[in-house]
Amino acid sequence: MIDAKIQERDEIEMLLPWYETGRLSAADMRRVEAYLRLHPEMTARLALIREELAETIAGNEMLGMPNFSARDRLMAQIAADAGAMPQAGAGLKAWWTRWLPEGLSPGLALAAAAAVLVILVQAAALISLNLRDAGDDGYRVASGKQAQSAEAGTLLLIRFAETASAGEIAALLQSVGGTIVDGPKPGGMFKLRVSPRILSTAERDTILAKLRQKTDIVTFLAPAG
């Protein structure tokens, strides 16, 4: 008899969080209410649950929102996925996955692909510049074509909000020492040069972070080859 009472109390206690959130079945709701009428001391536990609930909500709400660029990355992946020819895609994927570590997630695999693409494009740009700037004897002047090439330096792909004014865009570009070197491209993208040299990842990320703060002006941002 005592065991049965303890068991009932334990069962009711386990249901209390859902009683407080209103997510119990109708039968369990009636069961808890009946028990609380007979054992009012148990209602003190509900006050503890309300405290836990309030602080759990507060902790979650403090997290904020995911970066808007995450949505752009996802939608670009989906658009590519939707447009991919299944046969060709399967062949390319099979080829590509042979080069990736086992167990790599699709997202990381795509990021790796993008990184390789950026490296290849940058390498191609550098080789091209070296060939163009070098004379027959390999001599290159300090003010070579590298400084003037639209493809030289650290480049970003950027899209501006339709509501952004020319003044806001100019001020933003000035704040990072950026110059538009190409565009508009499909999707309203521009190529933005933020340095005439290839910046380190840390330096580039600092600039990316600064631009990403301006969510009212920038709607897409990514490193470009």
């Binding site: 386990m14 997290l63 997202g107």
Partner: protein, 186 residues
């Protein structure tokens, strides 16, 4: 929007409707991101996992059978991916015993209580729970999951959901007491 609207979005996504995918993302991405960020304790990883969940949804919408709500389905995929990643990194083993050590290196409970309010201490203790306990607390208190929904998301029986929630709350109460707040339970 309702659960029925969500099912309609999934039906359209299965027919490769990208607009429906955008709508589904807009409807669920913030809560899913927060769940994953709290579980993994890493916002960048949470963003990556969130995108993987939506990409999987795009690719496998046709296999959705409608036995659970779309929200539960998304959270279930996200939970499994997060736990799998954490296991690979050895993070899933980090439990309250390990995090208690971290707490011990801080101020004494009295000093901590003076420096931080009750709410701060409670939030900090919730964040120091083990991944299993954090997940169930967040699902029930923040994401309004029923016993059945939490069981589907975490992949455990309903009775285990009830006992896990009970022990998560009990552990939380102990940690809060160790931090200088005695709430009289357990």
């Amino acid at each position: 929007m309702t659960a029925a609207d969500d099912r309609d979005l999934i039906r359209r996504i299965a027919a490769r409707d990208q607009t429906a995918m955008t709508a589904l993302y807009a409807r669920h991405h913030v809560r899913l991101y927060r769940y994953l960020a709290r579980l993994t304790r890493n916002e960048a990883v949470a963003e990556e996992l969130m995108n993987e969940v939506f990409l999987e949804t795009w690719r496998k919408a046709g296999s959705y059978e409608g036995r659970s709500s779309v929200s539960t389905w998304l959270f279930s995929i996200g939970h499994n991916r997060a736990i799998s990643l954490m296991r690979k990194r050895g993070e899933a083993a980090l439990d309250e015993a390990a995090t208690a050590q971290i707490a011990d290196e801080e101020d004494t409970p009295e000093v901590a209580l003076q420096k931080r309010g009750k709410a701060d201490i409670m939030r900090a203790c919730i964040e120091r729970l083990s991944p299993d306990h954090r997940a169930i607390i967040d699902l029930v208190y923040y994401h309004d999951a029923s016993v059945t929904e939490a069981a589907e998301i975490v992949g455990i029986p309903e009775n285990t959901v009830k006992t896990r929630m009970f022990y998560a709350r009990k552990k939380l109460a102990e940690m809060i007491r160790e931090a200088g707040l005695d709430r009289g339970w357990p």
